[in-house]
């Protein structure tokens, strides 16, 4: 057994880290969200005006709703890609399992920015995709909606977060004892019944974890809209960024950020409860 002194010594660095770099900034942000800006200066005067603005100036609500729509689309798309992929790699890839797994992981090593610019190259008016469409005589003029649209944001974020969805689902599928699948068949279940009644419920914790990753990470993303979103693809994090930057309205920015934080935390606790409910270990 380790001594008390040793234990506190070991736990001190992480506690300090979390305290200084996480809890303190959050506290500062919370405080700011109740202040206001007058004549270009932040005034320490307690008020709820920032939160009222969130609900009265519809632009914020609109962007927030769009952000949630984009995040939901990304979650759905990456689940639709990630689950079948994980299912295939885990159950049917045989000797190629290891290499396929690595291939899914490799994109995570490539910088986020590089992947963003790659999508610009693919989707732009003079991009690879438009070039191909014209070459194949499917279109005659460049297709505009491909780049600088919510579509482009969903596409890029799905590409980036699918491995994050794949990993927990794959881990959950790998932990399903294979004799359970044989038992299910033995009891008369067709392969699709086995999937719906055994595989899917037992992979639910992984599915929830993956969906949470995709949704929460997308919700707070500001680079994808910046790179490929255009004005119609602006997301809530871009609003926060501009409020803290060009607009110099830290209190309002803080209020928007607190709003995102509340949504995220609510979601996390919700999925955690669900994951516990679906876990049988």
């Amino acid at each position: 057994m380790y001594s008390r002194a040793y234990k506190s010594l070991v736990s001190l660095p992480p506690l300090l880290w979390v305290g200084i770099f996480l809890l303190l900034p959050y506290a500062l942000m919370l405080v700011h969200s109740f202040w206001l800006v007058r004549d270009g200066f932040i005034v320490h005067q307690w008020n709820l005006g920032n939160y009222a603005a969130l609900f009265t100036r519809t632009v914020y609500l609109q962007v927030l709703l769009r952000t949630m729509r984009i995040a939901a689309s990304v979650t759905l798309c990456s689940l639709l890609l990630g689950y079948p992929l994980a299912y295939y790699v885990s159950f049917y890839s045989g000797v190629r399992k290891e290499i396929l797994y690595q291939l899914v992981i490799v994109p995570l090593w490539v910088s986020y920015l590089v992947r963003g610019y790659a999508w610009k190259t693919i989707l732009g008016s003079d991009g690879v995709l438009n070039g191909f469409l014209r070459y194949a005589h499917i279109t005659h003029a460049p297709v505009g909606f491909l780049l600088y649209s919510p579509f482009a944001v969903v596409l890029m974020l799905t590409h980036i977060y699918t491995p994050f969805v794949f990993l927990p689902i794959y881990a959950a599928l790998e932990s399903i004892p294979r004799p359970l699948l044989e038992a299910s068949q033995d009891l008369g279940a067709t392969p699709s019944q086995t999937f719906l009644r055994v595989v899917l419920p037992l992979s639910m914790p992984g599915l929830l974890a993956g969906a949470t990753f995709a949704f929460v990470l997308s919700l707070g993303d500001f680079l994808a809209p910046l790179l490929v979103g255009g004005p119609s693809g602006t997301m809530i994090a871009n609003v926060v960024q501009s409020l803290f930057g060009a607009a110099y309205d830290w209190p309002l920015g803080a209020a928007v950020a607190m709003c995102i934080l509340v949504i995220t935390l609510t979601l996390l606790s919700l999925t955690e409860t669900l994951e516990k409910r679906w876990s049988f270990k």
Partner: protein
């Protein structure tokens, strides 16, 4: 146990009729031959045990019948229908898995109901049959529990109920008792046997434990290295082992490498009359078939006798085992009723017909 009503002789075949036929089945995994040309029949209502060491192919044969593997060659037939081409979920066969394979996300009731529900049985019927099955294995009070909360023996019972509730024609049991401790195992053996007799369902039971096989089975199929060594009733296989391997695997024996000449077999200090042809021959003589002749009496006239020196005496309660040396190299095991310490050179006797000719 009154759940018999739930099961109006599901086998639907006259006792003794052939239920399952394994015809020249072979199975290879890559270059490894796991089963070689195995043929056997299972009669309806029979308790047949596949006995063998690990690697003998017994579990593979079970998995072929369940449908989890396909034979490399050969056919499996059940009630006049080709079985090996049918997917596992359409076979009238259910399995009790070695580690039970209960669904961890379903409670005991839903585990047992699983087979009925996926086959679209009416909910009202499901409830009644699940209740009967749980009562049969004495697990009614655990109906709402998740498998993770049950002990090994309880999980075993649930696995049994989950398989039997479907009224299979053939129940496959893959070393179902191997994960239980010795006492529970004995108890479950007896319950299993009673259940089988009561339900009249054909059991195909896989084990590596020869004692278990002897206690439970109507017949034992002894597998060795992927081939069928012998298939016979426990008494038959014990009394008349076909091969030296069978004689040694089932019970203990003395293997005698004898030479036969003119109706007399000779092996070291032992010689006895035999009907075998002249030449070298291998015999099995069970330790309990050799008796110790008290100094004040003489053995029956038909018995063959020899003298041996007691080297070891292993006390075993009702009986004890002697290791006796006859001559410089020959060593024999003798099992006699416990009779106090013995030592020195004694006279032993056995009946010639107890020395069974076996194949090497």
């Amino acid at each position: 146990m009154s759940a018999n009503k739930a099961n109006p002789s599901s086998a639907g075949l006259a006792a003794g009729g052939t239920l399952l036929e394994v015809r020249s089945v072979a199975k290879r995994f890559g270059a490894a031959k796991v089963l070689n040309d195995v043929s056997l029949n299972i009669a309806a209502g029979e308790f047949l045990t596949l006995l063998g060491e690990s690697g003998s192919g017994k579990t593979t044969l079970l998995r072929l019948i369940a449908g989890f593997e396909a034979p490399t060659s050969g056919e499996i037939w059940m009630s006049g229908q080709r079985l090996d081409l049918v997917p596992p979920y359409q076979r009238p066969v259910n399995t009790v898995f070695q580690h039970y394979a209960l669904f961890p996300h379903l409670n005991v009731r839903d585990n047992v109901a699983y087979g009925l529900r996926v086959r679209g049985t009416a909910a009202s019927e499901v409830a009644g049959r699940v209740d009967d099955a749980l009562r049969m294995v004495k697990m009614q009070e655990f109906a709402a529990a998740r498998p993770g909360r049950l002990s090994g023996g309880q999980q075993q019972r649930v696995a049994l109920a989950r398989a039997l509730v479907n009224r299979p024609q053939l129940l496959l049991l893959d070393e179902p008792l191997s994960a239980l401790d010795a006492n529970l195992r004995k108890q479950m053996q007896s319950e299993l046997k009673a259940l089988q007799r009561e339900l009249g369902i054909t059991f195909l039971f896989v084990t590596h434990d020869q004692e278990e096989a002897m206690a439970l089975s109507d017949r034992i199929a002894l597998l060795r290295g992927g081939t069928l060594e012998q298939i016979a009733s426990p008494r038959e296989i014990y009394k008349h082992p076909a091969t030296a391997y069978a004689a040694q695997f089932i019970g203990q024996t003395n293997l005698l490498e004898a030479h036969v000449r003119a109706g007399v077999a000779a092996c070291g200090a032992l010689c006895w009359p035999t009907r075998e042809a002249d030449g070298p021959a291998l015999f099995s003589l069970r330790p309990e078939d050799i008796g110790c002749v008290p100094s004040d009496s003489s053995p029956p006239s038909s018995a063959s006798t020899f003298r041996g020196t007691v080297r070891q005496q292993l006390y075993g309660g009702a009986s004890e085992t002697l290791e006796i040396g006859c001559g410089p190299t020959q060593m024999l095991r003798v099992r006699i009723r416990a009779a106090g310490p013995l030592s020195g050179e004694l006279e032993f006797a056995f009946l010639p017909e107890d020395a069974i000719r076996v194949k090497a």
